[in-house]
Symmetry: C2
Subunit: 462 residues, 2 copies
């Protein structure tokens, strides 16, 4: 790729899109990173897309001039997905923020990729419907699709792979492709929808998404409960899942994370102790039944008293505290760098995995906080370290790596929901084997022969 050819391409983009194509330094910088990843190279320009057609036209130009393209939602990625390791432009989807259709009678809707989950739920609020996937951040639906996001409600409602019914996608050649449809199920050909979900922008640019929606439950109750240690808290979750109790959310915060959240959100009357956050959805009697079962299991495991949030306001306060866990964790030591890991293990291994993670951190004298979507066996560790101290940095990274290796050894995965991005490429073959990674590369080469769609993410095409 000659530099002059690339410059000509950028000029063509500027000509085609006028003020919707920005070369401004701070705009470019802002579009070159997400959260929790060291800053790296900067994109060469930012297109503010307003339609699928505009994305299609831009990708055609980029294909002509060999310019990489990286789609951008709200920038909440944690694994370096937005870093232009091979240069190229960012396509910002935030101006594609229309909810295009809501079919209440069929529980589906169509949104543009830049619609965020909070915006969607706001627009749904009078229809008795909601969109359950909640990764914490107010992420865009496009970004959530591209990274196979999940989060707190996944234990009951599944992940993006379960709620996306179809996509509109701009291919590497700039063609507009539709996948899936409005039927609840289909056996019509390859499942392109699910191939694209979690492909991290490497196979196509998602511009519209058809989503399944769910009726707002008749009854919602939330509660928190403290435990003597994380293993016991995890054991409660294991027993709840093995009983088949349909918990809507069950989140574990370890002592450090709970302390951080109490400080950060100025919470009253919470204990600095390993804590489970529960949410129950169902009919009035169904919720009551779930609550009784969970309280029995909790008591038998030395759990404390349940603190209840019955009103929407109380629940919002409770979940706001949980959602701020990442920023609360960072605030434990202002100025220090933070590294997050995200692993998922079979539920029977959860107590061991979390207990072992705490033990190793203690041994290494690391400042960590654990928070997990534990009903799925999924948990995150925040590791704080002094970025100016290279030995401390290495220790943090080695620790995170050892946790990933432990999860894989337990039959789990190196990433439950954050994706591979840049940092986890090295674990992919360990987890899945060379044959699976080779198959991914084969598909990538076939669908993106010029390697212009978010190149360098998930694996290297050599």
């Amino acid at each position: 790729m000659s530099q002059s050819l690339r410059s000509a391409g950028l000029q063509k983009l500027a000509l085609a899109f006028a003020d919707k194509f920005s070369l401004n330094d701070s705009v470019r910088d802002q579009h070159s990173h997400g959260e929790s990843y060291p800053h790296g190279p900067i994109v060469e320009g930012v297109l503010f897309a307003q339609s699928t057609q505009m994305v299609s036209q831009a990708v055609q130009i980029c294909a002509e001039y060999g310019i990489p393209v990286i789609p951008f939602g709200v920038g909440s990625s944690l694994e370096g997905h937005l870093v232009p390791v091979h240069g190229g432009i960012s396509i910002d989807m935030t101006e594609m923020h229309q909810v295009r259709a809501i079919n209440a009678e069929d529980f589906d809707c169509v949104v543009e990729a830049g619609v965020t989950r909070e915006q969607l739920n706001h627009e749904l609020r009078h229809q008795g419907l909601f969109f359950p996937i909640d990764p914490g951040a107010n992420a865009s639906i496009g970004g959530m699709s591209a990274t196979r996001a999940s989060g707190t409600n996944a234990v009951r409602y599944g992940t993006m792979k379960d709620v996306v019914m179809g996509l509109t996608v701009v291919t590497a050649a700039g063609e507009v492709m539709h996948t899936g449809g409005r039927a609840k199920k289909s056996a019509a050909g390859y499942d392109l929808t699910r191939l694209l979900i979690g492909s991290e922008g490497t196979l196509g640019i998602i511009t519209e998404i058809r989503l399944r929606l769910f009726p707002i439950p008749e009854q919602i109750s939330a509660a928190v409960c403290a435990y003597p240690n994380v293993e016991v808290a995890a054991q409660v979750v294991i027993e709840c899942m093995q009983m088949g109790i349909p918990l809507a959310r069950v989140e574990l915060l370890d002592k450090a994370q709970m302390g951080a959240c109490i400080n950060y959100s100025n919470l009253q009357d919470f204990e600095v102790a390993p804590t489970l956050f529960f949410e129950f959805h169902g009919t009035e009697s169904g919720v009551q039944e779930q609550i009784e079962l969970v309280q029995d299991i909790s008591k038998a495991n030395n759990g404390g008293e349940f603190r209840w949030a019955q009103t929407q306001e109380q629940r919002n306060e409770l979940w706001a505290a949980r959602h701020n866990a990442y920023f609360a964790g960072r605030a434990m030591r202002p100025g220090w760098d933070v590294l997050t890991t995200d692993v998922c293990v079979p539920i029977s291994c959860l107590a061991d995995a979390i207990g072992e993670s705490e033990r190793r951190a203690k041994e290494l004298n690391l400042l960590t906080a654990i928070v997990g979507h534990v009903g799925d066996g999924n948990f995150h560790i925040l590791v704080l370290f002094d970025g100016a101290d290279s030995a401390a940095e290495k220790l943090a990274y080695d620790y995170a790596s050892s946790i990933v290796q432990m999860a894989i050894a337990m039959g789990g995965t190196c990433t439950g929901e954050h994706g591979i991005g840049l940092r986890k490429k090295k674990y992919l073959a360990t987890e899945l084997g060379d044959e699976a990674v080779n198959a991914m590369v084969t598909i990538k080469r076939a669908m993106d022969p010029l390697n212009i769609l978010n190149p360098g993410k998930i694996f290297d095409v050599v």
Copy 2:
């Protein structure tokens, strides 16, 4: 492909696999078709596979000699998946019938591809677990994975795409690839598992499957209820789904199908009328709550009395009658040919779609029977016709085609669960657009460059 090269390949297979490779005429004939598809060409040999390694070795030989390979489960396919339109061999998986692992505490298991769903449930019966996907036939888990099967329980438990956690697959080069894992969710790279599910043997040969299992519900109740016409019955289903009632099964049989089942299974005390079969899973009070809601909706729509099957024996009898629907339908006119269609529409269109299907059949004076997994908007029509009368045959095929076109026009799919196979290739681009079909062909070419894996199915690679 020269005939002599192919002969040399068959000789090499015979040498490598001795009595496990059959050239017997009746064995070959039996492996060259499923149900409900005109007989066509015959496979050139049948390998009775006993291990993944054996499949791998066979595919390596077939790749060397350019011989197509068609995997065979129990032969219950309805769309011509087993017909060797480009010649080649069949790989019979029935001797790969080991349940290799059951992890009761994690609700998963690993089975070889030839294990049938009934065998698996028999082996699970003392663990308090069950495998819910039930397409009617006692199909193999490998075949069900390859065709993205679903059936009666899908309304509550999903389809094969939702319950398969990972696969062992032999690739077109004869390599052994593993996908997925034991974690409940993962964001690690492309979703190869779901790309292979529903790929109908065209991207790899599935030899082992890791499945999610479910706890046997505390309470199971089943009931049937007759309705004045199919539209009303469909309306009851629509209202149940829109209320969010978590029905485990809800099946609609039209008057003709109900009459056929009563005759075929010698049922006592059933009415020859459009009928819904319900099954409720949950806790005792949860099931009671569901039943009350459904009965209210049913009564408001002029439904008859609910007839209950409470014991396992009564339920088995009830569902045996439903499972025999295909053969009962055929028996309406012994000696006539039968054609099945399988469409799925958005739930709001269900009553219109079924009503219109009945009206068109009546107008054309066709002998049809309708049976549907209506909670998903999915239904099948059996069309019987005199195979010796070419005008009657054309009428039947034209009618089936018009139903598929109607479903697609409603935003539905040309196949809810039977797959594309041979007969529905012509609808794929109508439903999904050329771009999606082109993407499928691109993936097929990349993963199977010699086009030896079940060639000619889903689409033509030209």
